[in-house]
């Protein structure tokens, strides 16, 4: 009889806890009643004997307490989860959350970290980034210091000050070890590669490779990026050189054909028929391009803009030659056409050597167009 009564009582209490849990879950669904939900979950967690809802209730209490910014209360709840549960996944999640929340002493630093990063993404980032630098310098033991330094470096790079980003990362790398150092080092290599500081990128990769637990595959991948950037930098310099030479050659020939700089200028002011033909065509092409991929549209704008200038100069050269010599020979025309193609080719390369467009073009040439 006693056993029967005890079993009945146990069954009744379990049903009651299940109902309490469901009621608390309902409260948690409404932002206005989240504090009440936390209290309800804590009560279920505190009740003894423990039930199958005890660990889940503490986990819920922790999650909701973190949501409303009561970090100490959240920490306590997750510690209860660790103390009470044998569910490996719940334990893992509680451990990860406690690691994320860190000790109470970092609460203020973390709030400042998150607040200033948010600020740096909204308006003028400089004040926020400077405040973050101050925070990182004053809190060298902050557990999330690597992410803090990364946020600062990326912020300065986005603001156009890649040099400052690299300088800060270099200093941070020197102060860190292990995974933090690798994370910062990889970021340094990427930013340096993007900024053309290829020797600096290589030096940091060499430094990281010397570590006994170095991620060799990631380092090899980054070295490949550096090599590609170096190769493209040489080609870019060659293209700029070609543009400069061709521009100089055009100015020299035009001056010789017209006899004076003043006449050269006059000749250039009047649009030749080539330019008159190309300008509306280029305008239509740019307008159409603007409705598609913005990266391609920007490149096309540059290419067609340069094309109009080259056509203008080329037309002026032909016109000056015709005025002075009466006719344009086939050899002269062919030579100029080759030089014009060279100029357009150089400018085209310079236009697409940005925004990873060169990669896109390579793949399109090899494999055909893809979707937007």
């Amino acid at each position: 009889m006693i056993r029967f009564v005890l079993a009945l009582w146990l069954l009744g209490s379990r049903v009651a806890v299940a109902d309490d849990y469901q009621a608390a879950s309902k409260l948690a669904g409404d932002p206005a009643t989240v504090p009440a939900a936390i209290v309800a979950f804590e009560a279920i967690g505190d009740a003894r004997p423990t039930t199958r809802w005890t660990d889940n209730a503490w986990s819920e209490a922790g999650r909701l307490a973190e949501r409303i910014g009561e970090l100490e209360r959240a920490r306590h709840a997750y510690e209860q989860v660790l103390a009470l549960t044998d569910d490996a996944v719940l334990r893992q999640r509680a451990r990860a959350t406690l690691a994320r929340l860190g000790g109470a002493r970092w609460d203020a630093v973390r709030r400042e970290h998150v607040g200033w990063v948010a600020e740096s993404m909204r308006g003028d980032p400089r004040a926020a980034l400077t405040a973050l630098e101050k925070l990182a310098t004053e809190q060298p033991d902050y557990p999330d210091r690597a992410n803090l330094w990364l946020a600062i470096a990326r912020g300065w790079e986005l603001d156009g000050d890649g040099e400052r980003a690299l300088e800060l990362l270099r200093a941070a790398i020197a102060k860190t070890t292990g995974r933090d150092q690798a994370q910062l080092g990889f970021a340094f290599a990427r930013i340096a590669t993007r900024g053309g500081e290829l020797d600096a990128a290589t030096a940091v990769l060499d430094q990281l490779a010397a570590a006994p637990d170095a991620d060799r595959a990631a380092i090899a991948n980054l070295r490949e990026h550096v090599e590609t950037a170096a190769r493209r930098a040489w080609i870019r310099r060659g293209m700029w050189f070609a543009v400069a030479i061709l521009g100089g050659l055009a100015a020299f020939v035009l001056r010789r054909e017209t006899g004076s700089w003043r006449t050269t200028a006059r000749r250039l002011i009047r649009p030749p028929s080539e330019a008159v033909f190309l300008i509306p065509v280029a305008g239509v092409m740019v307008a159409v391009a603007m409705t598609g991929n913005p990266v391609v549209a920007r490149a096309l704008l540059l290419i067609l803009g340069a094309g109009v200038i080259v056509a203008w100069i080329s037309g002026a050269l032909f016109e000056a030659h015709r005025v002075r010599h009466g006719q344009i020979g086939a050899r002269r025309a062919s030579a100029q056409a080759v030089l014009v193609i060279g100029a357009i080719g150089s400018v085209t390369y310079l236009a697409i050597d940005r925004d990873r467009l060169l990669d896109l073009v390579e793949e399109t040439v090899e494999h055909g167009p893809s979707a937007d």
Partner: protein
């Protein structure tokens, strides 16, 4: 448009020196039964047929495993697939060492199994080799430690856990990371991966567009390389995005159930249906793919929570793509018919939450309507937002990663900006919560 600039580009390629094509490589795809798993692995055109590995196979110059990431083809309660590549592309030994337990030292990984490998084409003449190890017959809700590689060249030890058995443990909670559109924004992607890792998800749902062009292996290296700390511990399920372009490198590097395009699975109290809305033949959206979706919805009628994941949003406030009228016409009636709780998409690079909708009518609560979320903020350049559209509950042009929590009583989606702040702290409408 790209055709216009082709003529200017001939001779401007700086591809480097790709290795010569291997005459023994055939790219017609193939199929192999995985011993002990009851399913097969199928490779597509662009990849060779998979072959089972032997422990005495060829070792290349540097067999160090890299880009380790998890997926599954079978039941996530009892199976997992570890995938990786090696520094060289020649190593043909694929082995996994594992044991039940959390963070075990390597010497305690007492069970071993052979995997399989196959090669695939990406850009140029380069050929890459993918390794897979399939573990089946695992215990539901259990934690395992594992490492992959070849004798003498194993990866670090990672830990994963299988999906819970909700019959044995009905109070279980699952947490999914939800994210999409990383393409070409890999710094942000890495930042968000760190943020998700701190929330210790059971599974990652990726809504598509991992890379800018699915054929470019370098981009996949960035995508998987930056996320390895998370993806070596947490399986990821992909929806195909238009930028994956149905390419061989995509299908070769992601182990997914069924035909890898349209499939469904149960994880905890949630049934997730995945659909490809950018098939090679677009007519399939109204045909075979729609039928596959209906079949999966039909099979999952009794699921506590029903979630659909695909790429192009049916409802969106973004200025770039916006709502897909085509999918509204062909998929939305089915979504309404089966009362799907939540639809996840990307494609538009922002974070959005719709009002509960049934057809084009806004519902008073999400008890009678489906909520459509856009979670395309994993790193690709952000898009603008059109204000005050009738379907929109919240929209923000921000990078973000979300968590989707599910218990038998609750389904809740919450998004976080890269700085860790919750978007719902700005506006409670940005949080999806549904209770039963």
């Amino acid at each position: 448009m790209r055709l216009i600039i082709f003529p200017f580009l001939i001779g401007a390629c700086v591809r480097g020196n790709p290795q010569a094509a291997d005459p023994a490589f055939t790219d017609t795809g193939g199929k192999i039964e995985v011993p002990g798993c009851g399913y097969s692995v199928t490779t597509r055109e662009g990849a060779e047929a998979p072959k089972l590995s032997s422990p005495i196979g060829l070792l290349g110059a540097d067999p160090t495993p890299r880009l380790v990431h998890l997926g599954f083809i079978g039941d996530p309660k009892t199976s997992i697939v570890a995938q990786w590549r090696t520094v060289d592309e020649e190593t043909a030994v694929s082995r996994i060492r594992f044991a039940v337990g959390d963070d075990l030292p390597a010497e305690q990984l007492t069970q071993e199994a052979d995997g399989l490998d196959f090669r695939y084409k990406a850009t140029g003449k380069d050929i890459y080799r993918q390794h897979q190890a399939h573990l089946c017959g695992l215990t539901a809700g259990a934690t395992y430690s594992y490492q992959v590689g070849s004798p003498g060249n194993f990866s670090p030890v990672y830990t994963f856990h299988t999906a819970p058995d909700i019959v044995a443990n009905p109070d279980t909670e699952t947490v999914f990371g939800v994210i999409g559109d990383a393409r070409d924004g890999y710094d942000i992607w890495e930042q968000l991966v760190g943020l998700l890792r701190q929330r210790s998800p059971d599974l990652i749902l990726f809504t598509g567009d991992a890379v800018t062009i699915g054929l470019v292996q370098n981009e996949w290296e960035e995508f998987f390389g930056r996320a390895e700390p998370l993806l070596a511990r947490t399986p990821m399920v992909f929806a195909h995005g238009n930028h994956e372009v149905n390419a061989a490198p995509y299908y070769s590097q992601v182990a997914l159930p069924g035909d890898q395009e349209n499939f469904g699975f149960d994880y905890g109290h949630v049934h997730v249906t995945v659909a490809n809305d950018t098939p090679a033949d677009i007519s399939a959206i109204a045909g075979a793919y729609r039928t596959a979706m209906i079949d999966d919805f039909e099979r999952s009628r009794s699921a506590t929570w029903k979630v659909l994941m695909h790429h192009q949003p049916i409802w969106s406030s973004a200025t770039a793509h916006g709502s897909s009228m085509f999918l509204q016409e062909h998929w939305m009636p089915v979504i309404d018919q089966y009362a799907i709780d939540l639809v996840l998409a990307g494609h538009d690079h922002d974070f959005e939450m719709s009002n509960p909708l049934r057809a084009t009518a806004v519902q008073a609560t999400n008890a009678t309507g489906t909520v459509y979320a856009v979670v395309g903020g994993a790193g690709a350049e952000l898009y603008g937002i059109d204000e005050d559209l009738f379907h929109s509950a919240y929209a923000e042009s921000t990078y973000s990663a979300s968590t989707l929590r599910a218990t038998k009583n609750l389904l809740e989606l919450e998004a976080f900006r890269p700085d860790g702040s919750s978007i719902a702290d700005t506006d409670p409408d940005a949080r999806f919560t549904k209770t039963k």
